[in-house]
Subunit: 167 residues, 2 copies
Amino acid sequence: MKYKEAKEELIQAWGNLGYSWGLNKTMAQIHALLMISTKPLTTEEIMEELNISRGNANMNVRALLDWHIIYRISVAGDRKEYFKSEKDIWTLARQVAKERRKRELEPILKVLKEVNEVTPDGTEETKEFKKVVKELKNFADKSDTLLDSFVKSEENWFWNTVLKLFK
Amino acid sequence: MKYKEAKEELIQAWGNLGYSWGLNKTMAQIHALLMISTKPLTTEEIMEELNISRGNANMNVRALLDWHIIYRISVAGDRKEYFKSEKDIWTLARQVAKERRKRELEPILKVLKEVNEVTPDGTEETKEFKKVVKELKNFADKSDTLLDSFVKSEENWFWNTVLKLFK
DNA sequence: ATAAACTTTCAATAACTATTGAAAGTTCCG
DNA sequence: CGGAACTTTCAATAGTTATTGAAAGTTTAT
């Protein structure tokens, strides 16, 4: 297989995976491109490689910076901004987990706390509702603890301990 | 807080969470509705509660059946179909993990295997590419093992072992 | 076989999300 | 300051995904 084909296929696939991780397609593709690049790239180069507009490139680069999974690099004597990806997939996964925890888990925890305040009126409905909310809360709390530990963990320790369990 | 408010808020929040789990908003809302319902519901009732059309209700109910997270129920002497949700959140999470593994992880594993066949031509680019692909593959394989064990696990065993670790 | 009761389909359309590219903004340097 | 080099914004538009609802299809009872 030729390098160019392989590169395109990987960028494509990474785009899809990233999408299911909560990034958007272009964001994930820019990330993939930076991931396999041997050197930091400029907006110009990203635009060219992925055939996207300046505005699109700029917006998605900023989103990636916002997620803290790529970095801005300055080169002495050059006014352009260069970008490089966090290359350690482990750090990347932790970072994504951290963001998603903030964006997704926290809001539902807040709602669960809120709706648990429903006034029990003795009906079957509110009884069931309370029960379901309690279970959801339990589950969400556990997931939160797990995610938090994951975010704070270090690679080897995590894989060593967890994979030992799951073998 | 009134039951009706709480119910609506929970359905809304569940809709968002479900979305980030890879379902779509309506799918997740129907699921939430069945989750807190004390009895199985018909398509008609779902349409009414969520203010959605017959087609929409039907399509999303079928998608939920497809994910195996709700069930079809027949009531003797009644021609209508009733639906009820898998109420155990643990079983639900396992089922979702299973589907996503199939839909998301498997394709990327396939691509990684494929692009690893790139012909090394001695350039820096292909060297880096190979390295990145190898790391991704390692990570994806580990995630796959982990997910698979999760899917096959039983609730107490899982939480007991994992949470002990992460305390 | 007929018809009522119910389910499924699907073309039209609404709603949402992503993308473009030109204009406005910023920074740097002589 | 002036203007070149670069970045950011945003209104317009393209593209995608979700939703509707009426028509077609299916099942069941008589």
